[in-house]
Subunit: 344 residues, 4 copies
């Protein structure tokens, strides 16, 4: 079968790979109909996250079950399914507390040996371990392009606001309007946020945020704090989402949050950073962070997508063929698309 | 000043009353521009809730502050304001836990000696104790008719689903589509419910529910359980709202709820009732009940009304003059209107 | 192997049964060192809960793993283990929300075909499905008698107060001082309850409650409401545990609870019951109910038992031989023991 | 009356001050029987926190009401009372959400103009604004020395673990064993923590922690991470309390916390600090911070103190006369006492 593999920084290729088969009782094999290219893939593409040359990329997918072990009970051969970007065992200390993203046995698709040596989903076929936890049937009427958001980007946007405890009527700010940030904007609106302030420096993204019901604010040409002051009675939002992964964005998030509010960090951090603990302490803020718990949110996100409460179509800017993956990565790297869907 | 007073079961009158003045430091006096007639008023009108003849009715209002004691800091003379249906001291054990509806000093407007001897708001002027807790400025652009929902019916609809812990993507059933039930439908939708099943026997109410995005189900001509089974993967909803106050409605609510779900009882109970504790126990349900905490929810509800996340205009079916209060009660009693607004 | 089997109401027997073997990959077989006789067993013994004659009884146990399928990862052959009274799949909708007690595939040991046809643990060997979810290694230094409480009675006592949201400093009442009620008393004290009022009619049980730090109140010779009024500033407790399963106990629980408090129903209900919904509504109470989530609480309960924060030794009133099971049931039925441990 | 006033860094004095009288309706005046010297006082004493020379110090106190305005309803003249270290209005946005420590009108006793110009309580008499929110009657049998802990240090220790969501059976680490850290150790134990690891460098403090039931670990001579690994199955604690206010302590707290756990920052920060956001993100930690919500916790803490669930007597190392305040500050500054109580 054909698969999109990492070769070296800046280069991916289509290569032939052996077809996977179920090994464990709860393994499934999925024929991939559509797979997404995501910001995390770019980290690998640029060499910032290192994986083995030849490793198959991709972790967003929708497809059809073509084989399933004896222990797979949730889905059957022939089912049209979508999956989450990582697996979870369902039984360890963390899974038993519903912290699936912290599962001791978690494996992330397409991220090499560091994250569990699980080949990616930008391929004709994908081996899916722990199928009972990670696969779900695609609800009728949901497009491929929408479905593959559920287990990754939209699950993360939902997590950003719901795990932060946003209540209906609350105000929210989202710093960084990549796909995750825009999904957070959508999730906040759909969850009853009265005001969503969306901060970025790219005009197109700000326009998309406006179309989604947010108040767009240019991070440098406008003054986010002044905008928040004007829009909120309290001079700060209840929840601020940091969807960049940069200390300056974190600083903005903290400054836009009201006393006693929550900063929700979904942007990725790997290093030390200077944080204004004084502001954090004086305001009595709360901060949550880390990988989103997409397995826990999957049913809810799917229900919202399939009933139209969430609509990700504005985010799918381009569909391309799996064979054109090299070009797709270049296009995505040039920020010419918010989300590219590769069709096998 | 003129005031709508209870005379005897089935009869209200317009009477002259002395103009109120602030007594305590945190009292305010409000010139009432519009006041609602509510289902609770009907309980008094029918004599089911007993109050003293001559007592002024009404507990929903919007108006203008005309006098305020020294201790009133949140609003000022001349402010256009709305109020909650009851007062709270802000300092007792219950207030300190945010359970304002259980305040040891709570007084309900227009409900006679039993609930605090606080004259009602269907009058030209109203004395408002604890003004800092119960009054809020009307956000710009919000109509009188919308504003007076915030402190009573819409606050109760919001409470019904939010205090029940409804999460974005959850499913919800609402039993009873009076104004409170319809507000619960709206609140559920605005809070991200993926499906809302609305149960009643009145065609117009079912139509309104459909227009608000719910699945209407006739309580006797259709089968609510079958409808819920079809609409939900689990055969039961996450949250069922009992907005009637009758054991049969409670039974339906319990049967429509999934295992581990929540039954939210906003319908009023005063007596013993037969409850299927077996179903309750086997399913491991949770039940919340009692008067809604409208003071706690007031900021959120107002923010949602003023930004259009909630829109109560479909519920205001008639505006009448304060002088026509006797007729208004008759119209409301014949269920010819969902909400009547009396204008002074 | 020998097993304690149900014969007919009032009669159990020791019978020979084939030795179980692991079938599914996540099955284990445990050589049972000690097994408890529990109040639920009495329901079967009396014929109130009907099971097939010849079915093996028991659902509390501690022992040693003698065989384990390939998929069993949490424990190994030779490990000293304890188990929960029921199994859970870890993967269904309910398990994914941590509601293990509502698992769609849950099976209860020793309760016949109705609850999953899973042979009981009052035997020399027990087949344990879903071993990863239900078995845990016994912490060093914990006695057999203490360990077998973790997965059933103590797990239920912990659930009764912790799932009810008891906070350190809160007051608590426990109605019914059987083993579950006494475990709730212990859990409340260990969780920081400032006052625990323990209500029953049996002098010995009241004495035990006093020894555990509670205020014993005789249900009929004394006045529980007066006692609670004296001990609490508010005239009601924050959390009342109904550990009987009788409408009169539920009524007491509701009357002892303060406004806005929680009634935690761990006593078993199967039928309709008259409930004072008026009291429930006026006070704005919250009620939780159903089977305890012992799998979710297992780590916490074990940690508290092994560090001495909980000490169940006052509850183990008798150890007997498995061969004397018939006598053990008679003794237990005469309420001559709070907990009988059968040793193989 | 005599009062302890700040003069210049390193020097306090006893000065004569006019006797305060109630001004606002909810003011009270308290004759102070005992007042504590606290770590926050040292910040002022050292000039790190700047206040006006001549300002009266102190914010922990117990005494007798000698005058009360008309609006004071919770306590009466002659009542023996204790107070919280700050006031709250009970009515602003933050108070209405129970975030009393973030009250828009909050004033801290004895902290000069920056924190509300409210004269301190190390004096013969103290003016207490917002008496309904901040004063509580001392429960019978509670000593002065114990009572004055409730509204400050013990309230903060309780907040550190309870606001962090510690559940019975959880493990906890406390970094920094000053009075607040030791109170956090006590609160964790009393709330059902199975293991409490207490980290400091001072032998006496580690001894006190051991006596309180914790596992003492020397921060530099031992290895806190190794100790936590040995004591917890997961290699990390559920909740880590940072009770120092220093980046190194924060770093330790983050490293001792398990994946998905909570870091509770009660140590004070005023500046930027380098934080290992990579560790924070990868582990998916949660952080709470800021001034403790002692008003919200006051009833619970008092209930635990008066029933012996919490016992602060090991922390009161010295009682001195108000007239010896200068010496008391010197003794406290030399760390010769954990808590000094000044008696008028």
């Amino acid at each position: 079968m054909r698969a999109v593999t990492f070769q070296e920084p800046g280069r991916v290729a289509i290569e032939e790979r052996p077809e996977p088969e179920p090994i464990a009782a709860d393994d499934a094999v999925v024929r991939v109909d559509a797979s997404g290219v995501c910001g995390s893939d770019l980290h690998i593409y640029h060499g910032r996250v290192q994986i083995e040359p030849g490793f198959t990329l991709g972790h967003e997918y929708v497809g059809t079950v073509v084989a399933a072990g004896d222990g797979v009970t949730g889905v059957s051969e022939g089912d049209r399914v979508l999956g989450t970007f990582h697996t979870a065992c369902g039984m360890c200390f963390f899974c038993r507390r519903g912290l699936y993203q912290q599962c001791d046995e978690a494996r992330v698709f397409g991220h090499g040996a560091t994250l569990g040596s699980l080949q990616g989903t930008q391929a004709e076929l994908a081996l899916v371990p722990r199928a009972n936890m990670t696969l779900r049937r695609v609800p009728e009427g949901l497009s491929d392009a929408a479905a593959l958001f559920a287990g990754d980007v939209m699950g993360t946007g939902y997590h950003a606001v719901v795990a932060a405890g946003l209540q209906p009527g609350d105000t929210c700010a989202v710093i960084g309007l990549g796909p995750v940030g825009l999904c957070a904007v959508m999730a906040a609106r759909a969850s009853g946020a009265s005001q969503v302030v969306a901060v970025d420096t790219v005009a197109e993204r700000l326009d998309t945020a406006r179309a989604l019901g947010a108040h767009p604010v240019h991070a440098t040409e406008e003054d986010p704090r002044a905008a928040v002051k004007e829009l909120t009675e309290l001079g700060g939002v209840d929840v601020a989402v940091e969807a960049v992964g940069h200390p300056a964005a974190l600083d903005t998030a903290m400054r836009l949050t009201r006393k006693g509010g929550t900063v929700s960090v979904v942007g990725v951090y790997a290093e030390r950073a200077e944080v204004h603990m004084g502001v954090f302490w004086i305001k009595g803020l709360r901060m949550i962070s880390g990988r989103a718990n997409v397995i826990a949110h999957l049913d809810s996100v799917l229900a919202m997508l399939s009933t139209g409460r969430l609509d990700v179509s504005p985010l799918v800017s381009r569909e391309m063929s799996l064979d054109d993956a090299a070009e797709a990565y270049e296009v995505y790297d040039r920020h010419e698309a918010l989300k590219i869907v590769l069709r096998a």
